[in-house]
Each structure stands twice: as structure tokens, then as C-alpha cells.
Homo-oligomer: 354 residues x 4
């Protein structure tokens, strides 16, 4: 297996390939494990072994960037028992492999990208996309298999990957937060409210929350350690603490951004109306900010804030902050498991004289 | 003036007309009062007096329902000083009056309503729309004027209206909250998570927050009083307390709804894909919930939650909850002004022996 | 039974007696019901029936005001099953009844009441006390028994009582909050910080939170109804919502009060030091507030804030706000049970087209 | 000056002396700077220069550990202007120096340490004390002066010191949090509630909040840098972020601890009652926990939780968490000043096409 991973790594490095990771299965009834689902394909599984490889079936959801990736990497989404042995499978295949189908997901306001006037997009240059990746009896050759039936390792693999992924959110979402904070500070200046005490206080709070997320990632990485393989691993407790905050603060940061932005955020006309012969004049006259700030500047900033808090950007900034890298309850469970409660209890016993 | 209001009321009642209220001016530089703006039209004002009426100019933003209303009612948005006398104006005109232009606002995911397959709309029957209402030298006949230059009354008028409006949010947004709570409970059942302790706890929290908003409105109304005119007024302190909570809790309720809904909320394919000859089969197979729950049922519920927390419904449920009926800081100021701090201080002095 | 209650009510009214209510049993292992405890006396129970009455044994905790009451009223603390029949008992006895022992509880800073100089008490006139009430084979005559073995009624009795009790907290704790807000506003003025924007904002927040608690009680009472007996009952859902907020906001109000009060709150010398021949001069010179505010005024206000947030007053304002009238989880359970989730789900189904 | 500091450092090291740091002045009217106070002594100042040294007067509040320290170090509490030159003074003197008076502060429940039976103290071995340190015309010899009139350096000195101090709170208060979490987990086990879902969830939340504080300190230190002097400095933005969280979370951790502990926390009798010939039997019988947990074990754990959340320990865990190392507003101001808002704005401009 180690051999497979090594060769695969060399292969994607030598060709400068972009990989996408598939983790979350379709799951069916979430209260049941893979092998007890009514439809056994609700988790990706090995349906046959052939000479030189395996045949897999199932579907992975929420695969960010799959449609613009060369390689599709698949791994399990949860700890597995002996009865789930067929579900203990990890592998990589090129995106164009026979039997692989990508179904593109919708996002709020996604159709704005297809409009003639692009200005209502808000975020002019960046964006993500999600896809459901279906594997219909896909053949995976041996050299591309990383896990095959070793069910005892699935849980550990998920935990290790999740710890890194959760830490990364203390950088990724913090960067989006920086942009949102910048846009909010800029709209306050554009509208002449930047000196109001409550606006200054809310901006400070936004920065504070965003940097608290950042601190979580810095701490998890700073307390990281080198494994015997030579790779680096983050501190798992702090990684989960980092991510659990990420499931909360972006909603509050978004709320404060909307507070400072004002109601125009959701009532403004299309930027295309600026050049409309009938109403363009009103657009340009009545949507200005303070002196020197024209309507286009103001509306572009608001469209960006709309994008991040209510549009395609909110997919990544809000909902993905909740569920990406594992949902909040997954972090709560890990935090309890990783904390040293026995040590804490012993301190308490000593100090109260027991 | 009272006469005008009485006749207007009779008129709209007798014809079963739907009125929309215009309050928020375009404002320009928010740190300056109306008469000190570089462009004097940034607040609606009287630009001329004519025989039998007045001529008004300016623009009102955020007018919910303007495009489907018969009558447009205008009132000031803030307290005014003597220098702002021309801005002390309230009146009503039919929507089709010469010089009145409505500019329709955009909303997240608004274009889904124009798509062939309507299923991605989420909310199949209801929705709101916002418009900017421009008054370009509109003539208002005397019998339709309710305020003309009485600047000292503007602040009081705004406060009275705001108190009622703020109380109404403890019903309006609570109703949307009920729908969101219902959709969230239903998706938990569809996905087989309804018995997980953390899901039950989060649903209880959603209900609790929603009912706290409701309690604010019930209390403000319950402590209401009859004015000498015979009309009923709400308790203004409790009205502001009600609204300030409305600026906060819907974001937390939305976050909890997204938590329970799962990541599919923002990665799911279009419901139109269900019937697609190539991928429809995968849609129907892999997007099912627990046994007995087909993919359509699950996706329709998720589309509704998407609508309320990230789509057209979020305009009303989230951003409007912040800014409608006045922004949070307006409530904070009123709460301090309306509370009886002197009484509270006297209790403290007594009790600590001063 | 109704007869007993009627006569007892007449009796305490005619003699102007003060009763105290005993509800919470000692409980032993909280995960076990009364009849499965290793020690059967961990819930108050009927140990014998005698001619003309019953004999009871057990202990009730947390009885506020027991030591200054004439009559002790006892009722069950939870719903009961058939096997717990002996625990379905409610009655009243005079405090001096043979076999009744009151054990006074300690409170933070309680010994300050015994000090020569009373000034460090903070709250000069009021205070509560808690006691554990032990019943060692106490005989209760028939006419003082209100419940005897009717185990099916215990749960309903607890719910009805709890709803009223929970509503009352939206008045009781709000009154303490008013005093704390008054003391905090006064210390801000004494120290010259009352005009700082963040201080004004924090005071507004304190008022807002306190009035949100108040609104809960007003709403629960306002939606109350008259029962067939002629008595009035509060709305049970809103009563639980009211109380659940009470378990949270006083801690935040206390935190804000301490924020505005400043660190001197926990480092100030005894007020007795003011007259000390050696250090009194320093006390009077260095502990003044802004011009015109002497050290005594400042210290007395701080002692009151200390009392409510860290002293004997915190027993009632903080911990009792959490547990009095039932702990937070009890409210969460009731909120879920009393909400009409089925109606909410039906709204969601309609709106998303199911 | 550097010379002075070097020799002083050598001196305290060579003798193994414990120093205490005095920072917060008495301040009088907090809205006025030092030199504009009615009483010029409200900030420690140089009142005279003499041969070989200076004479200082004033008082420093909140000096933790002063009464058990050998040396008293004094530094300014704020940035200073030219007019405040006499207040730009830093020095060290032995605690027994002529003119130095320490006035011991009171704490909640402090008198329990003087009671015969020590068990109600809660924390049997540790505790802090606060003192007000008065300097009445104290002579400070030149070799003990570190700052004398260099007013431009006061602000920078305060910021540097504060950044370290604020970071340290992400260790100090986290350690107390560990003890409180341990005591809370232990009381849940003692009372048989440790398996309830809401108890597990609340413990996980307590750990999560505590580790979020810890992450702040780890991040501030991890991003620290070596100054040209060879000393290490923490990242000032993250240091302030760390401390601002410390001003909030301990109150929530304390609330959750009280929630799990139960109401007995504030109603339990003195542990001394356990051996009382009249009531000791009731104490031992009715205050047990689940099977195998005697009353003493339970009460000792509760006394420890009381100590940290409502007693002498709350001085350090709650109020000092708010004000120690600077009050919340000081952190908000620094966070805004240290954040790179201009960079954030430029990202926003780029992305929205401006």
C-alpha cells in the first residue's frame, strides 16, 4: 500500500496534476452503518475483485473542485467494523475514467455567472464549485489502490485527515474573513459611518473573531509533531477546537458585516441598471455614498458582501464552515476524547483535599 | 392634517387598495443631516409649493412590496431640525402617479424564478420583493398630504411608527422561523438523525430562540395602551427589546438549521436533474434519505432551507431582520432612552446604604 | 384532598402565616428513580400509615426562606411510576413539628453579616437564606395531607407548579437586575466613565437582556388562561422559554457589570479601613472617584455589585437563576414537548411543494 | 536606565527575591489624564528630585501578591503626554521601604480562612491576595530607577508589558479552567449524571472554550519574535485577541460548571456540620451521591466549584479575567490598531473589480 501511495505521489508531481479528494458518502439513513443500509451502495464499496484490480460502486458528495481536477482521490468517511470490510477502500483514478460521473451542484445566485453583465456576481475572479461524484462499477488497477479491506485503519485514517483538514479551516476561512472585513470597512467609509462608535466596535469584533479562528490553526500547527514517517501532524485536540469555532464565528462575522453594510445589501438594483437609459440616472444619483463616492463603487462593495454572506461565496464561508472537514458534533466528540479529563480530575481532587 | 389622513383611510378602505410604506431615504453621507448633504435630494423633500399641493423630489429605498401595491405612502426617516423643514413631509400617491419610478431590486437566487423547472426555488408559493421608489418632481395634491414642514413632529412620528413596526417583527420573523424549524425537523427525520441527542438539543434551541422573539412581541403588545385618539400603541421599550433580539437570533437559528440539514444543502444538484436521462438514475438512487424517503422529498426540503437561509427568503429572514424597522443601533439608543435608569440608581443607593 | 387544601389555605390566611415550599429531594444517584435508590429515603416518602395520618421520612434541599417561615409545605419533585407510589406525597406541617430539622446552608461571604462593621455586606437590608429540611418520621395528620399515593398526578403537579415558578423568575431576577443595572450606572458616573461609548453600549445591553427576561414573564402571563377551578394558569411554553433565558443572561449581565465596575471590585479594602487611624487617610484619599465623589460612596456601590455578582446575592442572582424552578435541561425538554412541531412541519411541506 | 535594570535583575536573581508588579494607579476621574486630576497624586509621580534619587508619591491598586513579595516594582499605567512628564516613572523598592504601605484587599468568602474548620475554604492549598500599595514620599535611589521623565516611552512600555501579560492569561486562566473542568466532571460522576447527553455536551463545551483560550496564548507565543536586545516578544495582535476571549469565556465556563454541579452548590451546609452530634447523621445520610460516594467527597468537590465561581477563586478566575492585564476595551482598541485593515480593504477592492 505504501508503495502505491509513493508511486501515485510521484506520478501527480511529475505531471503537475490537480487532485480532488472525495470523502463524504451519500449515506442513506445516517443512523445506520454502511453494511446495514437497505441499499448497500450508499457508501462507496468494493463490489468485485478482478485480476489486477478492484471494481468499486457508490457516490461521494460535496467534492469541492472535482470538475476542475485531473485526479479523483477516494477515501472512507468513517470508522468501520469487520462487517463493513468491503467499504474500507481508498484509491485514485483519473477524472475521465470510465464509470465516473460528476454531477455539478447548484449554489445560491449561481446563474449570475451566466448573465451578460457580470457585475452582480460580486466576486469577479474567484469561486468554487461542488460536485457529486458517482462511481458505477469503476475498475481501479492495483497500483492505484491505497486501502483494500483494512477496516481497522479506516477510523484512524479519517481522524488523521480530519485533523489536518480542520486546521486548514483556520487559514482558509480566515482569508475569506479578511476580505469580508476589508469590504465592510470600505463600505463604512463609502457611506460615511466609519467613525461611529458602534461601527468601530463591530469592526473590532469582526477582526477579533476572525483572529480567534486564526489562532486556533496557528496553535494546532505550532504544537504539531513529526511522525516516524517524516511527515508532520498537527495537534489533534487544538485542530478540533479550531474547527468548532469555525462552525460558529463566520455567521456572527457575516451578521456584523450585514449590520454595517445596511439594508441596501438586499434591495439594490442590478449594477446593469446603471447604464439603463431610463433609470440609469436615478441609479447614479441616488445610490452614491458620501461625497466623492460614486454609486458604482458603493454597489460593487455591497455585491461582494452579498456574495460572501448570501451568494455563491456563502456556500464556502457559511455552510461549508459548518460541515466541511466534519460537522460540529464530530468535533465535540473528538474534543472530549482527546482532552485529558483524568488529569483535570486529579488536580481537582488534590486541591479540595480528597 | 388629521382630516387628510381620515379621508385617505376611507379611500383605501372603500376600494380595497394595498398600500406600501416608503421610509428610508437614500441618505448619501450618513454622517450628515438632510439639509447638509452635497446633493439636497438625498432625502425626499418639498421642492416647490403650488396651488393645491406640493412638488416633491427624492428617493426612498427598501420599499417592500412596492411593485405590487396600489398606493405609495411616504414618511420621514428621522428626527429633523428647523433647517430640515423641507424634509418634514408625509403623503400618499397612487403608484402610477407621473414622476414616480419603481426600480426593482435583486435578491440572491432571484433568477431561479425564471427557470423552466421551478423546483429549485425552494419556496414555491411565497416571496417578497424590494424596490427603490424615485420621486422626480411629483405633484401631491393637498388632500393627500399628512405632514408639511412640521419638523418637530418628524422624530415622534418615526418613533411611534418604529415601535409598531419593531413589534410586528416578533410575529413576522417568528412565522418564518416556524417554517424553518418545521423544515429542519422534517429533514432530520428524512435523514434518520432525529433521535440524536445533539439534533434534539439544537431543535429545542431553535424553538427557544424563536419563542423568545415571539415573547417580545406579545409583551410589547400586552403592555400596550390606548391613546386619546382611540388607537392602540405598544410599549415602546419592549418593542425595541423585541426588535433588537430579532437582529440577532435568526442568524443563529439559520446556523442551527444548516447544521442539522447537512452539507448537501449547498452541494445538491438541481431538482431538474432528477428526470435527466443520463444522470437522473444517480440522482434518484444516491440522494435518498432513510428507508422510505425518496430523493425528491429530501431535496425539496433542503431547497426550502436553502431559500430561507441563503436564497430569496434570506433577504427577509436575515438581512431584513437586521435592518427592517430600524438598524440595531437605533434600538440600542431607544432602549437606553426609554429605560428608567434614575429609578434603578435610586434602588441601588437605598440598598447599599447611601 | 381538595377539602384539605381548602382548609389549609383558610388556616394560613386567617393567621397570617408565612409558608415555605419544599420540592427538591436529596436524590442520591440522580440516574435512578426514587424506589430504586440504595437508600429508599433519598426521596421523601410515606413510611407508615397510622390512625388519623401518615408518617413521612426524607429530606428536601434548597428550601429558600424555610428558617423564617411558619409552615413547611412539601410536594414531589418529579413524575412518578406505580412502583414509586409511596413517594407521591404532599402535605404541610408547622416548622416546629417534632421530627422536622432545618440545616442552614452557607453562602459566599455569609460571615460578613457577623462582622462588627456591617459595611462590607454590600446589600444592607435584604438577603435570602437556604436550608435543608429533614423529616425524620414526622407524623402528618390527615387534614394536612394533599397527595397520598396518587402517583399519576405527581408529574402534572410538578409541571403546573414549575410553569408558574418559571414565569415568576422573569420578575424576581429582573428586579435584581434592575438594582444591578442601577448600581452599575451609578459607579460609571462616580468614576467618570459614563460617557464612554463602550460603557453606554454595555449599559444598553444590560437593560436589553434584563428586559428580554421580563418580556418572557409578561408573555407567559399575558397568554395565560383561566382553568375550570377559577384559578389562572400561565402559558407553559412561554414560561419555560422565560426561565431558560433566566439560566443564561444574568451571567452576562453580571460580567458586563464587573466590566464597567473595574478591578477595584475585588481588590478594595474593607470599608472599615476608612476610619482606621493608620490607613484611613489613604483610603479616603486614593479611593475617591471623579470630583465630588468620596471614597465611601464609591466603595459602597462596589460592595453592592460584589454582593450581587460574587457574594450572598449571587446565590440568588446567578446559581439560583440556573437551578431554581428546575434546571436548564428540564426547560429544554418541556420546550420540545410543548411546541407544535407537527404544525411547523406541515407548513414546510406545503411551502416546498410536498 | 538599561544599566539600572541590569543591576536590579542581577540583585533579585542573586538573592532569590520575589517581586510584585504595581501598574494600575488610583486614577480618580478616569476621564482625565494624570496632570489634570484635581488631586495630582491620583497617579504615582515624582514629587521631588534629591541628591542620589527621587521622591515619589501616589498609590497603585490591584497588586497581586504584594503582601508576600520582597520587592515592589512600579511602572506607568498608560501613555503619557509632555504635561504628564512627572508621571513617567518606573522603579523598584524593597517592600519594607519607609513610606510604603500595603493595604490588604477583601475577597468574597475570605473570612473562611480564619474559621476553625478549614473545609469550607474549597481550595485547600492555594489562593491569591490583592493589595493597594501606597507610596508616601518614598525615596528611590538612582540605581533603582528605570524610567524618569521619558514620557514618550510610557505608552510603548505599557503596550509591550501588556502584550506579554495578556498572553500569559491564556495559560494562567486555562490552568484554573482545567481544575474547574476536572471538578465538574468529578461531581457529575459523584452524582450519577455523567452519562446524560446534555452533561457530556456541556463538558465538551467547557473544554472547547478553555482550549480556545489556550490556543490564543500558543498562537501569540508561536508567532513571537526575538528583539534586537535578545529578548523574545509575543505577537501583539494575537496577544490582545487571546486576552479579549479571556474576558468572556470564564463566565460561560463557570455557568456551565454551576449547571452541572446543581443547586446544592449554594445551599449546602458547612462541612463542619458533618461531625455535629445533632445533625451530622443527616448530613452524612442525605448528602451522599450515587452509590459509593459519601457526603464528604461530594461536598468537598462542590466547595471547590463554589470557590472558583463564587468565592476567593472567582476573584482571579472571573473578575481578574476581565480586568487583569487591561480591561476589554483596551484590547478592542489595540486589535483595531494592530490589524492591517488597509491590506484587507485592498483585497476587497481587487475582488469586486474596483
Amino acid at each position: 500500500m505504501l508503495d502505491c501511495k509513493y508511486h501515485y505521489l510521484k506520478y501527480i508531481q511529475s505531471r503537475d496534476l490537480v487532485p480532488a479528494a472525495c470523502m463524504t458518502d451519500s449515506k442513506g439513513d445516517r443512523s445506520l452503518p454502511p453494511s446495514r443500509q437497505a441499499d448497500k451502495d450508499q457508501y462507496v464499496r468494493i463490489v468485485a475483485e478482478k485480476k489486477g484490480g478492484i471494481v468499486v460502486r457508490g457516490a461521494k458528495l460535496h467534492t469541492t473542485g472535482a470538475v476542475n481536477s485531473h485526479e479523483i482521490i477516494v477515501m472512507p468517511t468513517r470508522a468501520l467494523q469487520a462487517e463493513d470490510r468491503d467499504y474500507a477502500v481508498a484509491f485514485a483514478v483519473p477524472a475521465e475514467t470510465k464509470g465516473v460521473t460528476l454531477i455539478y451542484g447548484r449554489q445560491p445566485s449561481d446563474a449570475r455567472r451566466l448573465e451578460e453583465n457580470q457585475a452582480d456576481i460580486g466576486n469577479m475572479f474567484y469561486g468554487g464549485c461542488e460536485a457529486m461524484v458517482v462511481f458505477e462499477d469503476v475498475f481501479v488497477p492495483e497500483e492505484r489502490i491505497f486501502l483494500k479491506g483494512e477496516y481497522t485503519m479506516a477510523g484512524r485514517l479519517v481522524e488523521l485527515f480530519a485533523a489536518h483538514h480542520r486546521t486548514s479551516y483556520g487559514g482558509c476561512k480566515v482569508g475569506v474573513g479578511d476580505v469580508l472585513i476589508g469590504a465592510t470597512a470600505a463600505i463604512a467609509e463609502a457611506q460615511g459611518t466609519q467613525s461611529a462608535a458602534h461601527v468601530k466596535d463591530k469592526l473590532a469584533e469582526m477582526i477579533h473573531l476572525n483572529e480567534t479562528l486564526h489562532a486556533g490553526a496557528l496553535a494546532a500547527a505550532g504544537r504539531g509533531y513529526r511522525t516516524t514517517s517524516g511527515a508532520c501532524a498537527v495537534d489533534p485536540l487544538l485542530a478540533n477546537v479550531c474547527k468548532l469555532n469555525v462552525t460558529r464565528y463566520p455567521f456572527e462575522i457575516a451578521r456584523l458585516a450585514q449590520d454595517i453594510a445596511g439594508g441596501l445589501l438586499v434591495t439594490m438594483p442590478s449594477l446593469a441598471d446603471k447604464e439603463n437609459p431610463e433609470i440609469g440616472e436615478y441609479f447614479r444619483k441616488y445610490l452614491v455614498g458620501k461625497e466623492g463616492v460614486d454609486a458604482e463603487r458603493r454597489i460593487r462593495l455591497l455585491r461582494l458582501i452579498e456574495n460572501i454572506t448570501l451568494g455563491t461565496g456563502a456556500v464556502s464561508y457559511l455552510t461549508e464552515s459548518v460541515h466541511g472537514a466534519g460537522s460540529p458534533q464530530a468535533q465535540k466528540i473528538m474534543i472530549t476524547r482527546l482532552a485529558d479529563l483524568e488529569a483535570n480530575k486529579s488536580y481537582a481532587f488534590d486541591i479540595c483535599g480528597l
